[in-house]
Every structure is written in C-alpha cells, then in structure tokens.
Symmetry: C2
Subunit: 685 residues, 2 copies
Amino acid sequence: MGYSDTDKLAINTIRVLAADATAHANSGHPGAPMGMAPVAHVLWNKFLRFNPKNPKWLGRDRFVLSNGHACMLQYALLHLYGYALSIDDLKAFRSVDSITPGHPESHDTPGIEVTTGPLGQGICNAVGLAMAQAHTAAVFNKPGFDLIDNYTYCFLGDGCLMEGVSSEASSLAGHLQLGNLIAVWDDNQITIDGSTEVAFTEDVVKRYEAYGWQVLTVGDGENDLDGIEAAIKKGQEEKTKPTLIKLTTIIGFGSKQQGTHNVHGSPLKPDDIKQLKEKFGFNPEESFAVPKNVYELCNEAASRGAKLEAEWNDLFAKYGEQHKAEHDDLVRRQTGDLPEGWEKSLPVYTPADPAVASRKLSEIVLNKIHQAIPELVGGSADLTGSNLTRWKDAVDFQPPSTKLGDYTGRYIRYGVREHAMGAIMNGLAAYGTIVPYGGTFLNFVSYAAGATRLSALSRVRVLWVATHDSIGLGEDGPTHQPIETLAHYRALPNNMVWRPADGNETSAAYYVALTSKHTPSVMAFSRQNLPQLEGSTIEKAIKGGYVLHEDETADITLVSTGSEVCICIDAIKELKEKHNIKARMVSIPCFEVFDLQDKAYRMSVLPDGIPSMSVEVMSTMGWERYTHEQFGLNRFGASGAYKDVYKKFEFTPEGIAKRAIATVNFWKDVPNIRSPINRAFQQMI
Amino acid sequence: MGYSDTDKLAINTIRVLAADATAHANSGHPGAPMGMAPVAHVLWNKFLRFNPKNPKWLGRDRFVLSNGHACMLQYALLHLYGYALSIDDLKAFRSVDSITPGHPESHDTPGIEVTTGPLGQGICNAVGLAMAQAHTAAVFNKPGFDLIDNYTYCFLGDGCLMEGVSSEASSLAGHLQLGNLIAVWDDNQITIDGSTEVAFTEDVVKRYEAYGWQVLTVGDGENDLDGIEAAIKKGQEEKTKPTLIKLTTIIGFGSKQQGTHNVHGSPLKPDDIKQLKEKFGFNPEESFAVPKNVYELCNEAASRGAKLEAEWNDLFAKYGEQHKAEHDDLVRRQTGDLPEGWEKSLPVYTPADPAVASRKLSEIVLNKIHQAIPELVGGSADLTGSNLTRWKDAVDFQPPSTKLGDYTGRYIRYGVREHAMGAIMNGLAAYGTIVPYGGTFLNFVSYAAGATRLSALSRVRVLWVATHDSIGLGEDGPTHQPIETLAHYRALPNNMVWRPADGNETSAAYYVALTSKHTPSVMAFSRQNLPQLEGSTIEKAIKGGYVLHEDETADITLVSTGSEVCICIDAIKELKEKHNIKARMVSIPCFEVFDLQDKAYRMSVLPDGIPSMSVEVMSTMGWERYTHEQFGLNRFGASGAYKDVYKKFEFTPEGIAKRAIATVNFWKDVPNIRSPINRAFQQMI
Ligand SMILES: [Ca+2]
Ligand SMILES: [Ca+2]
C-alpha cells in the first residue's frame, strides 16, 4: 500500500495520453481509459508479472481488455512500461498500417494477448486463458516446480456484461472454480445510449454471486488506490472462485464532460484538453508528453518483471533436469509445432472399408491422435454423444472437488453455450500450450459467429467439429439444417471450411487444420453414413480439391463435397449407362486450401473446355467461383428421414443426372469453354 | 384447485402420445413432454385463453415452447384441444411434408406462435410477445375496454437458460417490468451430456432475482397440480415483474429410464412403452389412443375459449363504436397491410441534393414515415446515436415508473444485446400488431445469427438497420468492419439484404422491406457520405437491380452496391477519358429482389455479349452469380480514416479502372460472351 505523487502522475499521464491520442486521431474512445487509469496503474505497477522485452514469456500474467474500445489505455500502458510501442506509434493511433489500430489486435501489437473490441468477447477469452493456465499447471507443475502459476486479469465494461456471450462464459467460469481469474468491471453507469438506467438495471453483483464468483466492491475507483490494491489481493487469495471487482469509476475523469456519454466515443475538445492538462500539472502546449519520473516508475516495474522472468527461466532449466520430457514438451508446444510423427496416427482407408458417418470418422481420428498430440483439448456444447467429440477414457476438465474429473482433464463440458465455447477456445489457443477443438451441430456454429470471426482475425488455431452438417440430419428439420452456414464461413477470411467426403478426406481435414498454426477451421461432418471412396487419399485431399475420377473424354465435370460426392458417383454411372454421357468427378473438401494451390494444378482439376456442375445440399453461393452450373438448396430444408429429404429435393443420382444433362446441353454450343477459375485478375487476399 | 382422475388421465394421455409418436417416427424427444405434461395440462386446462377454431384471435394468450425439441408436448396439446391437427398428423410426426416437423414451425402448424428449437430463442420470442402486448395495450386499451390483456407463457429447459441470448432478453425483461410474462423452467437436472452437474451449477433462482424477476418454486412438478396452479396464479398477480417458475420435474416420467438423459432424445423401447401404458391404464396393444373423457375435458376448455373469443369480439365491436379509428387501425394491423398512402412519405432525391451518409438517409426515412406507419416500433442495441434509428421526439418504450418513457413508446433501448434484439423482434413481429426494426453495426448483426435465421424461416417482417456497413467505417478497424456478413445473409433463404447507394435506393429498400410481409431484411447503411446519383429512382431500385447508366456501345458493365457505386461512376469517367473504354453502370442494391424479376428484365440489366465486373468492398462470394469478374476484399480490413482505407485496398476510380481494363482485355477474344445469369437450369427456391 502507499501511493506517491508519482503514482498519481503516472495515472494522469495515461489520462492525458488517451486524450492526446484520440484528439490527434480525431477518433476513438477517451472516456474509459481516463476512468480506468487508476486501476490500470495499480494492476500493472503492483501486480502484473510481465517482461516487456519478452511479451511471449510463458510465465507472465495475462491481461485482457474486454472493453477493447478503451485500447488507448492499453497502448499507453504498453508504451510506458517499455514494450515495443513508441510515442510515434501512439501518434499513429487509428491510422492505416499502424500497430495501434482502433481496437487491440493481438497479431499486430506486442503485448496484446487477444483481439478485442466486439463486446463480451474479451472476458470469455480471459476465461479461456484461465482454463488454459489451470490445465497447463495441472499437467506440468511438479513438487517444487510451480512453473505455471499466472493470473489472468480482465477489464470489462457494462457492454461486456450485457452481451450474452459473457453470461455463458461467466457461468462456466464459476462452475469451473477458476480462482486464477480476476475481472474488473468498469462500473461507470454509462453506455453509448446514455445512462445504464435506460436498459441495464439488473443487480450485477447478485448475478455474479449466482454464478459462484467472489464479488468485491470498490466505491471510488478514481481515488481509492489502496482499496483497489486490497481488492486485487483478495482476488488473488480466493483460490476456488473467479473474482469480479465492481469498480465504480467516472468515465472521462478529468474532462469537463466527465461522467457523461459525451466522452465515451468522441475525442475531447481542445479547450477541454487544455484544462485537463493544467489540472493535472501538464504543459497544455505539449502533446504526448511523459514525465521522466513516470517512465522511471514504470521502468522499475518492467525491471522487476525481467528479473521474474530470469528467475522463472532458472526454475524452468532446473525443471528440465528433473523432468526432461515435460520440459521439452512445454518448449515444443510454445512453437506451435506438433510432436514429430503424429500424423502417422491418422487413419487411412480403402474402398473395402465400411461406410461410416463422417462424424464417426472424426471420432476415430480423435481416438487415434489424442495420445500423439497431448496439447489437444476438446469439448462440446452439450452434444457429446451426437458430435462424438470425446475419445474413449477421456478425463473431463473439472474442478477436482466435483469428483467428475480434474484440471488435467482434456475434455471440456461447455454446456449449451456455443458462443462462449468459441470465445473461450480463442483464449485457450492464445495461451500458447493448447490446441482447442469444440463440437456442436454445424447449424449452431452460427451462434458463435462473433467469436469465430475473431479466431480468423486473430489468427489462432481453433477447430470446430461441426456435425449434422446438412439436411442429412433428417428429422430435426429446418431449424437444425444449415443452408447458409458454409457460405458464411467460406466468406470469412482466414478461415478454412472442410467438408470431407470419406475417411481419407476426414484425416486430411484434421491434418491441415492441426498443422495450420494461424488459421481456424470449421470441419463439417455428416450424421449419415458415407462409403469410402475409390480414388481418395490423404495426400490428394490435403490439396483442398482433387480429381477423384478422371475421364479424358468426359462431357462434364461434377464437383461436390462431403455426403454428396458418393451420390454424384452413382449419378456418373446413371449418366453413362442411361444417357451415354461421360463425367469426371472432382471433390473439393476445402475451398480455401484449394485456392492456395498453383494455377496449373487448379486448372488440371477444373480445366477449360468442359462444362462443370457443383452438387451440394445447401446454398449455391460461392460455387459459381468453381463451376458453370450449381445444384444446391437455396431454400430451407424439411423434417423427415434423411433419405426422404434428399429425395424431396432431388439429391439423388437421377436428380443430379437430370441437371448434368441440362448442363451439357446448355453448354454444348459454346466453343472454348472457360474454366470459372480462369480469371482476369487476382483477388486481394 | 382440485384435480380429478380425468385430469390425471389427460396428463398421462400426453405422455403416452409423446411416447407413441416418437416411437412411430423412430426419432424425437419423449423425455421433456412426459416430464412437463402436468404443467402443460394445468396451464392449458385452467389458464390459457385460446380458441382452437381461430388460432389467430388477437385476444389469445401466447404460448411458447422454448425447449422446442419437446414439440410432441405441443402437438399433443394442439390435437387434444381441437386445433386442426389430427391423430394422423401425430402419426406423421417428423416425416416429410407433415405439419408436425421435428421442431415447431409457426408457418407450418396452426397454433404454433413462433418457430423454436434452437435453444434460448423461444424465451426471447416470449419477451418480445410480452413487450408487444404491453405496447399494444398501452396504445389501444381505453377506459372500459381492456381489449389487449393477454399473458405470454413460456416453457423452457436448462439448455435455454444456458444460452446467452436468454440471459440478454431476461435481463431486459426484468428492466422492462413485464408482469405479463410467465415462464416455466423445466428443472429436470438433465441435459444431453447427462446431469446438469457437469456444466450448469449456477444458482438460477438467484440469477433471475438479480434480473428483477419474481421467482417461484414448485418442488414436485409431476404430482403437485395445486402447487403448479398456485404458482401460475401468483405469476398472474405480479404486475411489474416477469415470473419464472422453477418446476422440478422428472424427465421421461413413467418410463423405466425416467430421470436419465437416455429419455431425452431417443424414443422409448417397445417394452418400456408397454409398461408405461399398463401403468397409466392404457391398452398396451393400442397406439395413439385418446380416452373419450380426455377429449371431453379438453373440449370443455376449448369451448370456454370460444366463448371468451365471442365475448371479446362483442367488446371489440363496442370499442369500434366509440373508438372507430383505433378499432380500424387494429383490424388493419392484423392484416399486415400498411396504411394506405404511407409510401407517399418516402423521401425522393435528385442529383442536386447534397451527399449524405446512407445511415442518415435511413434516419430521414424514419422521420418521414413513422407517423404514417404507427405500428413501426424500433430500437437499437446501444448505438442509437450511431445507427440513427430514433426519430425526433420519439418516446422510449419503458416502464412508466422509470420516468424515461412509457409503454406507448415506440423506441426500444435494447442495451448491448444484439442477439436478444433479433430474437425479441421475432416475437414482436409474431404478435401481429407491430412491425419491428432494430439497429446495430452491420458487423454485429452476426451476433444475432441464431435469431435472424429464424426470422427468415418463420417468415416474419423484421428490419435490421445495419449501419457502418464496410471498411468505410474507418478507424474502428477490422474488428468492426464486415467482410463476410453480406455473403452470409445473402446466402440465408428468405432474407433480403439491401445495400442502397443513395437516397432513392434507401427509400426503395424501406419500401420493399416494409411491404414484404413474410420476409425479413438486413439493410446495410454507410457511415460515410454518398452523393445522390443521376439515374436512380425508387421505381427502378425496387426491382433490386437496374441500369443506372446505359451505353449501348459499352465495352464492360460495372456492377456495384452502396458506397462503391459513386466510385464506379468516377471510374467510368476515368476509363472514358484516359483509356477510351466505355462502361455501363448497374446498381444491384438487393440480390434477392433482383432474382425475382423475370429473365428478360434481368438479361436487359446484365446482357450477353459484354463482360462485367462487380465492385464491393467485402467478400466477393456470391458476385460470381452476376458478373464475370469481381473486385472485392477477401481479407480483413484496416483501421484508419476511411479514405485511407479505401485507398490502401485500391477502391478508387484508378483501382477500379485498372481491373476493368484487365477484364476487358481478358474477355475480348471470347465470342458470344454469356451473361452469368444465363443458366442451364433453375435453382430450387
Ligand atoms: Ca460503461
Ligand atoms: Ca433439462
């Protein structure tokens, strides 16, 4: 305890920097940084373990700014404490190609753990980071080696608390008894629409107690530094509950407009900044000025952090002497490389093998590879028996007191919380020692759209096991049958959508998804059985698209994915036998990976001179990029036995043949048919 | 109070019908219907106001099954109480083209208010229905005429409570003091993964109290019929809080496997059904048998309902004598038709009018039309000042005690709760007297994907005012810049995506969105200013796509939407002046509406014989359907001033011209260029 004038100056420096940077950018959110400067100072100066010279030090505490619009707070901290973020970077706030974008992006900026801004996400990422700490500690810590013992701290605002995704994750965090998680709620009673009185009058304290959290209160978040410190300490001491600190603050503290929504999302006016600087003892003529003693104070904390890392490194070296395998495993995990030879565990199939649902093929993969990849940590949003995401004898990730598992457990019971699952997986992946996967029906990956887009943007390796991937789920009907989902996720940049047609393609999907360190995947699996295809191999399928059945004299190329490939193959027989039409067969289990192949290869798969038709039982959107004609389903499905549903919509050999014939006839007078992938210019990717 | 053996037999009849139908379909969820049969009986027999002969009677109570997988409960009730749902329909449960699909669909089945199944949605729809009741009552009720006084009842399960969307809506429902909402939580301690102990151990009672709900408890939901009745009564008596009844039940009550997750999602085995029927006094050799006295008991309730409607109709007729305008308005609203001549309020622009951001154009429309369309009820998810969704002098929809508005208010403060906003709008629209719209950034419509898909599936008129629709939002950066969003919603069946280029197109978007009674719309609006275009008219734009600038000798057709249309027009000048290339200009503000035009019209807009290129600053996915080449953004955006961001990605007249030239060159050797809309066969829609 005990805070000096320099502490107060450091706090006001953050406020002034936030005001300067938003004014300079003429854009941004000064209010929350100014209101939260005191708690940020106490946390970073007295508690947070970090080494600015090595932002990736495994032993560091994790800091998440869930109210990401307050990022000038974080940028100011990163600068003051000596991360590779200069005053010029602050001046470049919110300008193109800066490392200080309008919301924090983990891949852009050293010291940013997760990409935040879309409200509610950061607190869920923090839950994931805390779960990752608990798991990694349980697996790696040994007597005398409390290697993995960091806290995860999270700041969040009213908006984060209103978002349902944070409710989901907070309920789970309480269930999981995450004593290593400390969240600070910026209770400033203001949102964009004005007072929280207009829409947010619930009793948050009571709600978080209901989730099983410790809830603490600091009534004067602008001045009571000792109270803030005491609350954080109490959060650290509570070992079996996450902590929420209700910190009452004044948004835009120091501004003439403090306490109003006017300071939320707009820069302060020049005269307001002037009085602010004068009030806080800054020269109103100077901008982006940091007093020397503030730098010194922050440098001290940074030096303490560097020393902590050095000690940790010593401990880790000693750990390596006594626990070499674990040491090396932990080193390897942080590189993102999988254990050598893991891929030999992937199952390989021949056409003689029985027909199996691809969700079951996915389960077989998980059963085969989970021992080879110890960092694989999975779960499901309450559909374990349907998603088939739990390998035999898996241990559940649970607090030991529940007697349902323990923290070494690698299977997470997410409950019916798809969105939180997605956001938590982003946190699990960001921790650096875990490769997460999560199961639900493909249709309900959409519930998690807010999180999946951030997986892609922040370039984390997250795998969705998305079963029941089409009208092929049958009886559950249109409410559960995805139509638009693959188009949605195919349109999402840096996101792979896989829809394997058989066992080898399923292995290929897992191979590419697991070895793509910086790209998430949505893997779509069938409920219904699929035969093992003649001509499929893992090697071909990892190219994203390939010729399954070649015929140099073909009249048409059929192109398909997943459960429709085998129907197309029957259609090819039908075309040959009844209509004397010859067809090639192409399988494209993953657009994104196919697009990455060189043009010569892609043209060999989808050549000029022959018309093509795609077949997929969902939206045709996007298929025009690969084929001349599309047979799909641009309407909602139907409830019934899956074979009846396929028949209703004519996804049968006859229905496909009929449209293939129409395609051949329609294109027969066109000379020099161009392949659709033959384009005038390159896309910007 | 006081329940006879016939009541118990009616309850057991529901259980046996659920067992029979799921067994007959060999699919479905018997457990919840069997566990909730008692509360369903008490509610439907003693409380619910309904007339099976007129499922659309405005004065009816609304019943929502949020745990939609339990739909055999609802189908059994609909049958027993005399709705147009026969025993044969029950036998057709979960078969193609039945009116008894795997989850309840409001457009398929008389008596189903809203389409449920995706967990968490129904309770939010119920909040919307209750809000609609409160609003409609406040507007139309007069002294002596309590016309609109129904309750909304909702059943929900553990899954619904775990979903974040229900948290959002429940918090808002508490804030809004919806005393007309009574929810029954099927507390059976079971989810698909087994005991709720594995993931759901929060204190739900305390949480709902924190939201401001009245929470009541019935400990024996299988036998304590008097307790159930008392709880519902108490829910009715509480006028300023929604009520949650925690009803402890036994899933699959009567089955040998009752109380386990084995009865959740699979039919009972034959021997289990046999013992069930014997235990409940049914003939085990008979299926789908309903005792005569059960029909009689239910018929009595139905007759009481018919009488209630008759009385209501008398009251309404008297109301019409004293309040003719209101009477006629209420009659009209229920038809879905808008007031005659409302469209004359739509603003019309000429090129002389100033450049305005289309979000502002949207605000102008709202200001102009809100008086002409009294059923228009809007709101925003805490972005009112950015979305510009609130007309001048709007009254907020708030409990009068807050002094922030009252229930006649037509502006809803949703808080930062996009998903709940979407699901609540589905309920508002389903009530029958309201046309809802809601605002957020386009990027965050994705948070509501679970709800928007149900808007489309259930065919309700819901309008999204989705502002900040691209990288044009500028400084907020990639976390807030939609790339995949339009592709996602364009791929969603029965959903219109509008992206207007100027004022006339904005008016057209509203015109079509408001007059499409059975289709929701996502209207994407710019943050940045857009000029009023030469050649745009409302009449042309309501065709979804049209020629903005014709040139019979053109070398290329440029096709665009929204904020890129005016840049294309500058590119056309550039092409002409610097490269001697002539271009036609087509605007397609709405794919879905353009697709509905006849082929001759569409071919006149996108003719054969000329190459075409689309320009839109987001995913190119879907544009291949209309154009030969696509200039878009298949990567994430950047944080910076919007003009800098457009420049970075070359969305400038020069960048467009460069690609147009490449397109012309690439296609110049192709004879008889085919328009992409010229296809071999029709899509299934
Ligand atoms: Ca706030
Ligand atoms: Ca349950």
